[in-house]
């Protein structure tokens, strides 16, 4: 069948063809009553719908027509039912036409369009290429667009002049760090830091009692806690040495809008790997007495990027983790981190409630409550096991680094250097280790060396073999720069910079319809590592299914697969939006950044557990276990969990927690910070978990929640659903949303809505909210989590809804498979892909496991074809 014969023909003409003789009759009999020119229900006029399958919009409409009839959703229940075989015949015929048209489209255009790396992929690729984990490039690049739910889709990955300018900037940033500009490494220094080091908030806060100093687990007699009077004059205390006593620093006040804890004693000069150690413990403070604490508290370590004025952002730029601070037991934590220029370490007493002593009578000496002590922090580095570093060796091999004396090279321009010492924000105990003179890579035979180096570098950077012509093109750049008076190193740098901004580097190369070995290796590694393949993967015989399976296993076991977990969940379950709003402080005073980070960690850990244990797709909505730490366990009402580490915990029999559906992160990203909407959450369930995205709403005003708490969202929706235009969609959307009304905007379980009004509402019990957190909200109307699905199944609560959803494992698995396919192939799953998708699902069927599904996707022609 040729596509042109199907285009631009009115429905009547198309349906007059013998092969579809039954379709017009079917539509006439069952559909056009509501979907004709006069009624156009759902904005669909079948009498005018052309068979223009080349038009993506028209094609999509026909697919919907097909799907609605095939699922039995149309004609609606209240209308006369068609004969089962008549409907089947119609959908079979329509499917055939659509399949053929889609295949023609795919053959002509290919499935996955040319696509560049996302900025996450770009950063990971450069990090892995040069062996510089933690190199910060992502923030330099413009945000990526999104199509079909993911930013990896070729439809969303355009390149503008802004992108190019930023790629140049990012390439310079990477090369500045990669190229060694001195004969030996900067000396590694180990500095011991205190939260009271000059320039930080700790000293100031100690003056007013939000921070104290402790010696031998007692208040430090040399610098006693502030009491009725704040300490006099911080500058005098600094000069006299009050903050340099090596005492432990006890912190009561959590980070907030005006308080950040930075270890100002170490501001990174030379980017690289550093070893960070710290000692933490917790205590109960009772007006001057140090007592055992209520349990293990959590201290957060973070990296803070200082701005040029030295102030830094309000929040840490990236969190390294939350660490145990056990009761009266100093506990050392050690981690190796990558620190960029002018970055320093940040800290917070994350598990504590937001208390402040500065305004309290008798300040610290009038306070009874928990605190976290930081004995010290040590930062050691930069750590280099080889010099020049591997990144430099990748670029220049073993060529010598020698002093460049300009007078010896009168015709050559000296290489430009980034002066780390000059741009360093000096408020630190660590010291610069500058090198005298100007040092540069020397080559005695520049063009021979250039050919050798580029021949090794380009295939690695471009993730494919590179022909002689391409190498010669880059050699041309080197030759031109040398001729223009640049030194060898600068000329080579220009070639590398060009390579890092070239299409061969920025784009995923998938030249053939059936992916070749290197293209398949790339697709696999960008799926599971979000980065380029390593040498083992590149050289593996991936065309052998057994080898492909073994490599998939290896990639999943590797720590880099966490990038997939985080990036995929960030988009599939919208975790990237976790901080899109801050919950109302009056309604949800127990919310904290620690709770938010714990929420995200739970969802990551849960998905990881599904993969590790190959658990089936019903776990998307229900589970007998949860992945929690103490903070989340308390939030969920689970007892017996201590400390900040996420671990697997069996749930009580009637607990609704566990599956994604009732995880706090999901419940937060589907709420607006003040109120919940069954519509938003219901649409999320349909779209993200069931793979049945609802239709975009017609032009009807949205339902605005009543924040006064006089009417529930459910009551307002009831009115909304009286509108016939809205009713059919809401009948599908609302039920899961109604069941999820049992959870508030931060994922807490509720049976009554919280309100902040004075007149309505009953006093709220404290529940699991920290006793140091003030409560001003009240309890308003009752939550009604009951409802009925479109198929007439009733539910009384979220547990019932979970059971209903879990009874459709094939739907859940199909949805997850579709999302994984879009993510991994960079294109939507089209109509013609359905048989292949079905085949994946059938092969996964024996266990329906998530790990099996990932394997079957990778083994499928959908994954292995452009």
């Amino acid at each position: 069948m040729k596509l042109p014969s199907l285009t631009l023909l009115p429905l009547a003409l198309l349906l007059s063809q013998p092969a579809r003789a039954d379709l017009p009759a079917f539509l006439e009999q069952h559909c056009t009553k509501c979907h004709d020119a006069d009624t156009q229900k759902g904005n669909l006029n079948l009498t005018a719908l052309k068979a223009d399958y080349a038009n993506p919009e028209t094609f999509a409409r026909w697919v919907k027509v097909h799907d609605r009839i095939a699922s039995g959703e149309m004609p609606p229940k209240k209308e006369k039912r068609p004969e089962a075989n008549a409907a089947a015949a119609v959908t079979t015929k329509l499917s055939k036409v659509l399949m053929e048209a889609d295949r023609v489209r795919l053959t002509e255009k290919g499935s996955t369009g040319m696509r560049r790396m996302t900025r996450v992929e770009y950063e990971n690729t450069v990090r892995d290429l040069f062996g510089m984990p933690g190199l910060a490039l992502q923030a330099l690049l413009p945000a990526d667009g999104s199509a079909h739910g993911f930013d990896k889709n070729s439809d969303a990955l355009e390149v503008s002049h802004v992108n190019i300018a930023k790629y140049l900037e990012a390439a310079d940033q990477a090369l500045d760090l990669a190229i060694a500009t001195r004969p030996k490494a900067p000396a590694s220094q180990k500095v011991r830091l205190s939260l009271l080091d000059r320039g930080g908030s700790g000293a100031y806060l100690s003056m007013q009692g939000d921070v104290i100093t402790l010696r031998d687990r007692k208040a430090d007699p040399l610098y006693p806690p502030a009491s009725a009077h704040r300490h006099l004059d911080q500058g005098s205390h600094e000069r006299i040495g009050s903050f340099e006593t090596d005492s432990s620093v006890g912190v009561f006040r959590r980070e907030d809008e005006s308080v950040n804890y930075y270890f100002r004693g170490h501001t990174t000069i030379y980017p690289g790997r550093y070893r960070v150690r710290t000692s933490l413990w917790s205590y109960q403070w009772d007006k001057g007495q140090v007592l055992p604490s209520r349990g293990t508290e959590a201290g957060r370590l973070a990296v803070v990027q200082l701005t040029s004025d030295g102030r830094g952002g309000q929040h840490p730029n990236y969190t390294l983790g939350y660490f145990d601070a056990p009761s009266l037991q100093p506990t050392e934590h050690e981690l190796e981190v990558w620190l960029n220029h002018n970055e320093l370490m940040g800290f917070d007493v994350s598990s504590l409630a937001p208390v402040a002593n500065y305004s309290r009578k008798d300040r610290a000496m009038g306070f009874t409550g928990p605190g976290i002590a930081v004995d010290w922090m040590e930062v050691e580095g930069p750590l280099h096991d080889v010099w020049p570093p591997r990144a430099h060796q990748l670029l220049f091999g073993a060529l010598p680094i020698e002093e460049f004396i300009p007078k010896d090279h009168p015709e050559v321009r000296p290489p430009a250097r980034r002066n780390w010492e000059k741009t360093w924000l000096r408020v630190s105990k660590n010291q610069p280790d500058p090198v005298a003179g100007l040092w540069a890579v020397r080559s005695d035979d520049p063009m021979v060396d250039a050919r050798r180096l580029l021949s090794a570098f380009l295939p690695k950077a471009f993730r494919q073999t590179v022909d002689e012509g391409s190498i010669n093109a880059y050699l041309g750049i080197v030759a031109a720069r040398i001729k223009a008076g640049e030194c060898f190193e600068t000329a080579m740098r220009e070639a590398y910079r060009t390579a890092l901004c070239s299409p061969a580097f920025l784009y995923h190369a998938e030249p053939e319809l059936k992916l070749g070995r290197s293209a398949l290796a790339c697709r696999l590694s960008y799926f599971l590592w979000n980065s380029a393949p390593d040498d083992e993967l590149t050289s593996a015989h991936l065309e052998d299914p057994t080898v492909l399976r073994a490599q998939t296993e290896r990639l999943l076991r590797d720590a880099r697969s966490q990038r997939f977990v985080e990036d995929f969940l960030g988009q599939w379950l919208k975790l990237r939006l976790i901080a899109a709003n801050d919950p109302d402080k009056k309604l949800y005073p127990e919310f904290s950044p620690y709770l938010q980070d714990s929420m995200v960690a739970e969802t990551h850990a849960y998905f990881r557990e599904l993969i590790e244990k190959n658990l089936d797709a019903t776990h998307l909505v229900q589970s007998r276990f949860a992945m929690v730490n103490q903070k989340l366990a308390t939030h969920y009402g689970i007892t017996g969990v201590t400390g900040p580490k996420i671990r697997r915990v069996d749930l009580p029999p009637e607990s609704p927690r566990g599956g994604f559906l009732t995880q706090a992160a999901i419940l937060k990203v589907t709420a607006n910070g003040t109120t919940t909407s069954p519509v938003v959450r219901g649409a999320f369930v349909l779209d993200r978990l069931l793979g049945q995205p609802p239709e975009p709403p017609p032009n009807v005003p949205a339902v605005e929640p009543d924040v006064r708490g006089t009417t529930t969202i459910r009551e307002q929706l009831a009115q909304h659903r009286n509108n016939a235009t809205c009713a059919s969609c809401h009948a599908k959307i609302d039920p899961p949303g109604f069941a999820l009304e049992s959870f508030d905007v931060i994922g807490g379980q509720r049976d009554r809505y919280r309100v902040v009004t004075d007149s309505n509402g009953d006093p709220a019990p404290r529940g699991s909210i920290d006793p140091f957190i003030g409560i001003s909200f009240k309890l308003g109307p009752k939550v009604d989590p009951t409802g009925e699905t479109t198929s007439g199944q009733t539910f009384a609560n979220i547990r019932d809804m979970q059971r209903l959803l879990a009874s459709k494992p094939e739907l859940l698995l199909r949805s997850l498979a579709q999302n994984l396919l879009v993510y991994s192939t960079g294109r939507e799953v089209s109509f013609a892909d359905r048989p292949a998708l079905q085949s994946i699902l059938e092969k996964t069927a024996p266990d329906n496991g998530v790990r099996t599904l990932i394997h079957e996707i990778i083994q499928s022609p959908l994954f292995q074809t452009r």
Binding site: Y223, P224, S227, R230, H231, L232, D233, S236, I240
Partner: protein, 179 residues
């Protein structure tokens, strides 16, 4: 010759190679600060501390008038040479100034009891608040007894003026009970 130069000139004793000088010391606000000064002064170059009188806040130094920085130096340059070293060695908590010209008997003592004076830093903070005020010739602030004691030139300042300054700096004074 100006009065300051005359004072400095007179404070320099004329001996052969090693000369001695006397200065007032700022930063001696508690008795234990004397040991801090003596300890820090051990690292002085081309000069040395030979005596400190806590009660009068005076220190005597000797220096080698042939040494770098002292050779043919004017009295104010000698003060600057020694003071620079002392300040750096003590994190700028001590400084040397020309000796008080006023006889001891002409100085008036005023006492304050300060609320919350409970550590060395606070003592230093209270001391710093008054030490450089016009008319304040000497002061001590001691967190052990909570006392701020000031010796003033009564022609230049008064208890009331000092009390106002303390109030502005939010340093609370314990008012003596009316007799």
């Amino acid at each position: 010759m100006k009065p300051l130069a005359l004072l400095l000139f007179l404070s320099v004793a004329a001996t052969a190679a090693e000369q001695s000088v006397h200065y007032s010391v700022r930063g001696l606000f508690q008795p234990d600060r004397k040991a801090v000064l003596i300890n820090a002064a051990k690292a002085l170059e081309n000069c040395r501390l030979v005596g400190v009188d806590y009660d009068t806040a005076r220190a005597t130094f000797t220096y080698d008038d042939e040494a770098k920085g002292f050779k043919k130096a004017k009295p104010e340059q000698i003060l600057q040479q020694i003071d620079n070293q002392i300040r750096k060695m003590t994190n700028y908590t001590f400084t040397l100034v020309p000796p008080v010209a006023l006889p001891e008997a002409a100085l008036k003592r005023i006492d304050f009891t300060i609320e919350g004076l409970d550590c060395l830093g606070c003592s230093y903070g209270a001391y710093n608040t008054v030490a450089t005020l016009e008319g304040v010739e000497r002061a001590t602030a001691n967190f052990h007894d909570g006392k701020l004691i000031i010796l003033i030139d009564p022609d230049k300042t008064s208890r009331q003026v000092v009390a106002e300054v303390l109030k502005k700096k939010e340093i609370k004074v314990v008012e003596a009970a009316p007799k």
